[in-house]
Symmetry: D2
Subunit: 382 residues, 4 copies
């Protein structure tokens, strides 16, 4: 049973995660994890902080001699910015300069009321999307296992504001993928990339922000992950819920979910075929999940992000003492959609790894391989 917890404030000492239930003998290359961390920091539209932080992951337990131990894994990312905030974030001494004006669109007010704070900093330090750095690391760590079984998960920016780059491309093709990950906004089309960058520049100039949409696709997922037995075991519950939990995401779609709702059964069914004894589908409108279970086709999810709510325009708010005031402005990104794709890819990686290990349990990589190979043989037809 794979599980994890993560912790850490945005300007605290470090972000930490502990992963339990990861099998032994899985080779780990920390460079692969840091590569994802790096992708997350790239992407046009990020604000000042990304220049300050040069995130990298440290593995503090659970790996020895290049392989996992079956023991809990500790990952940490140091906040380089902490040195500038050591008095603000001091563990013992209270900091005088309190934030009392909540920003709309954030957890600021809800969090301060819930937890009974007179300083909104206590909220924003944890509610911040900075937490996604360590969540990305967790997913990237899980990918070290999944890739042994040929799983590949990729992300692609579909839209930023009203600029769309949604022509179908073969994301399983390495050249396509390379082109996407070389783009400043992780989209495919060069012209659309320019348009997106221009849109971001425009928004920035106006003190405004932009949302958008990313597609996450996972390839070589075996048929049979998840279960219809109970709702919390469904693959769509797990993956859908996890993607929805990412900061800024307000909508999730599997396959052609929204189009399908306007269409007819006769146009959306994915007919079943077979090739070399392996069942497949002629189309993938379902996005790889039928009846809560993976069907062997690529898992395709779209995540829709609202624009970052922190804008420079003055908007109305009410402080913690009930006084109507104008919003304060906090340093912020203009557009985080490119980073979102990277984060969601890794969030999906964790959830798929969890589903994978529920099906192909085993304490060590060698046992998992036996289970996996046996299963693939079993579901093959001649």
């Amino acid at each position: 049973m794979l599980r994890f917890l993560d912790s850490g404030e945005s300007h605290g000492k470090e972000l930490t995660a502990i992963i339990d239930g990861f099998p032994s003998n899985v080779p780990i290359d920390i460079n692969n994890i840091n590569k994802e961390i790096e992708y997350r920091m790239m992407g046009y539209g990020r604000g000042l902080r990304m220049g300050i932080e040069k995130d990298f992951v440290e593995i503090k337990s659970g790996v020895r001699g290049g392989k996992t131990l079956g023991s809990p894994i500790t990952l940490s990312i140091h906040n380089l910015d902490y040195k500038n905030f050591s008095d603000v974030m001091d563990m013992e001494k209270e900091y005088d300069n309190k934030i009392i004006v909540p920003r709309p669109g954030h957890a600021d007010l809800n969090g301060a009321l819930k937890y009974n704070f007179n300083d909104i900093r206590n909220v924003i330090e944890r509610a911040s999307a900075r937490e996604t750095a360590i969540r990305t690391a967790v997913g990237a760590f899980c990918m070290e296992l999944l890739k042994i079984f040929d799983v590949k998960i990729v992300n692609r920016t579909i839209s930023i504001g009203n600029i769309f780059d949604n022509d179908e491309v073969n994301m399983q093709d390495d050249r396509v993928l390379k082109k996407i990950m070389s783009s400043n906004v992780f989209c495919y089309d060069n012209e659309k990339e320019k348009d997106m960058i221009n849109a971001i520049d425009d928004a920035k100039q106006n003190g405004d922000t932009l949302g958008g949409c990313c597609q996450i696709s996972a390839f070589n997922i075996p048929v049979g992950l998840g279960s219809y037995s109970f709702y919390d075991r469904r693959a769509d519950y797990r993956i859908g819920g996890a993607l929805m939990s990412v900061q800024g995401v307000k909508s999730i779609e599997f396959g052609e979910g929204i189009s399908a709702s306007k269409s007819k059964g006769s146009m959306m069914d994915d007919e079943i075929s077979i090739k070399n004894g392996i069942y497949n589908r002629l189309t993938n409108n379902a996005g790889g999940i039928e009846g809560g279970i993976t069907n062997g086709m690529p898992i395709v999810a779209k995540v829709y992000m609202k624009p970052i709510p922190t804008i420079k325009k003055e908007i109305q708010t009410v402080d913690l003492y009930g006084n109507k005031v104008k919003d304060r402005y906090e340093r912020s990104d203009t557009c985080a959609v490119p980073a979102l794709g990277v984060i969601c890819k890794n969030v999906m990686s964790y959830e798929l790894c969890r589903l994978f290990l529920e099906k192909f349990s085993g304490d060590c990589l060698e046992d998992i391989k036996v289970s996996y190979d046996n299963y693939l043989r079993r579901v093959k037809r001649n």
Copy 2:
């Protein structure tokens, strides 16, 4: 900590649910639960079976003298159809007439491969949306607690196929709500109702099916449910994942999630105001959740359902032995969107009740009331 499990095959003896962690001394009126069960069975577009089953809930434990005991609650719904299936579903004797042709769009093939079945009936009996009857009962049971705290959750059909009824209406208004629940498809506008019924008739005549979209709104949810502390405690993880897990749902949206992704921060922020000492928002684009925490505004979610995949047109499939064949046809509904709204309302009810009890824990109703009242006082400003 509220939790439940449910069980039961579609044509088995009964559907059962056990709910643990429900507080004591909550008055229960079983008629309210049966009312939701009844709503679920209504709705234009359902197939033959709804004439056979007249579902009602039996409470088998956890309630005495009209009130909950704090002990686990057992709910059951008998399958009246079981009497016609007693040999098919016999516990001991194997049934000869096996189903070997999987229908696209269902769990049929994935389930049979995963669980190693030579009879697809073993899959469809549990993967069936019949399970939503007991899930509806669980949510309706939870509503008996929530309504004491003035919570109201309502559903509305927004679209069936390409017929939309999405003008804003005040769903908190009892007359509006009554009008919706009197509609044959649970939409608001009478003309649109006719169009939807016509669309369903058309589809049925062509052996086709239709999907659609429902809106679920929850009112009087206190600020502060859920937490940004860790992703599985976020209100959007819980509610979003649970809605996504409902059979046929392929997309979820909170508030104006999809529009927001195409828009600008300056247009989507919900400005904060205060009235009678209670914080609120001037708009509700966020759908009642900011930073993973409820903000006191109505929770508004849209669920998008694909058309039921079972159509009369012959489509390609492959049987369990690897032979390409034409799809078999199984009795089915033409459109389940009206039922979906009822189900999702109750699914949200369970998740909100769980979040509510995490915040206002207490073993009995009286203690919960003290916690709740104290909290409302605490977050009020003068």
Copy 3:
């Protein structure tokens, strides 16, 4: 991931359990489950009720054609006594004749205060050891899987009051086991059986009660169940906690735990040997668990039960309104130690099954067998 919930009041309609995560294609013989239910009801020293109830289990879901479906399993045991209590236990109408005097040694007072009841019946109906009937059924169901892998779990009464029957016997020997299960108190020695029965008769005559100790031994448990990775995954946490949770149990011991605490390392170490390529131990002081993991030796646990606290002697108590009064007397057993052994055997069966399925996960029996066989081969030396 195996899990279950159970429900039901002592004099309510039925006891119910839902088990989720049980694999498919496991043959189920309900007679085996009922045999355990029957053993639980036997045993010298039980009171009146055992004459009323003739418990048997009904499987309401999750099994078809003699095999499990991978879907949730519903077990129920009807309370035959319910017909005599239908007005007392009425779901809707409040019952006037309230119990307000708490018995020492039971949950009576704690439960009434916790849940804010003015009728202690609301407590005793669920806190009653009657719940162990359904828990026994759950464990017996799990045994249907375990026995395929040659697991055998047996129970034996070690002491009742101050009568001890603790000479070592080979409980793996079928004749020994048969002798034990034929005893009226499930002990081995015929003379001791008589002494125990006499002690029970004596106690009964004096309106008194007796406790005692049972041994539970599980054979053919593969090395490697449980993990030292985190405390809630340790085999001793799982099994020890579960045994301790059984009504009346106040102490648990693995192997020679208590003697070992008074002894020296040099006398308690179980030296490691090997036979036919399979590691074993020359002694089993550790009771089959080292470092939180099973070591392949029999798991041996002792459970110590306090005497049933309901005695006929007047003892001091205080009613729900704070008035000092004499204890009321409720129908009760004189000694439940024989039943305890049966219950604990089945409680251990569930926990071992859960540990087993965490290690040899697989959706169907066939996949589990492959995992299991592969593992046994892997840990064998030549």
Copy 4:
């Protein structure tokens, strides 16, 4: 819902724990936590390492300005010994000098087989009781909350080997407690302290080891923690299981559990009385838990530890390749019973805090106080 994970190898970089679900605004004095860490390292009978490590806890997240944030708390303890093991424990480079001889009584063999290791160091680094340092820190952190509600948990050595110091003393008395915690073995009686030290010296001289027994008592626990609703919510399941999971513990006893099993109901019942409107018991044979629920009396548990299995005498074992060999010797303590008491006190602290927060949930200390005070008022009689 309180939960935590911990991680870290015995000679790795650090031990880490993440605690989630801890409320906000709880004042934290890290010195109190370090005091417990220090107690754990004291105690006569520890081996060489305790001279090397001078453990102290660092809080890396979740606390600011002296108070908790409601966000996850990160605790870490650096392994000072890591500097001497950096090549042995290198994350990337495999270490040549492998351990292939398993010690009896440890996880060595079971772990190596389970996780498929050719180096037993991979097992012992995590299975080591060094992990209890961070578990102690977690419990001590929780005590910062509990003590606000006057909870006090104390430990006392009852026996080491066959030297017993089990006369009843009032552990709630500060002078008694001070005397115990000043003892080199944490027992009460000065003469017995000398005897225990002599016994340890004797054992050490003979290359042998000793086990023993500790008592843990928790005072001012409100009535009503835990529930009989389902077995995993019982106070005895939670506390009993957690204590059993501590390295070296093989038996657990609540109150007079073992004596009670040999006694009669009439002698073990704790009669109920009332004083100043507060229910209590005239005796405490049940050890503070009846029916799985705390009854307001002190919780009294005894934990029995086997002797540390690592002895200097040559004993038989079998290496990882199946060859019969003599045991290797690893640096070890002679007697860890004094440390055990400190560890178990803090393990109980965590479990009680979890039970406490399930009952008196609330996001911040202020809300919890309201719940708590209301409840105490409610269960008081006039």
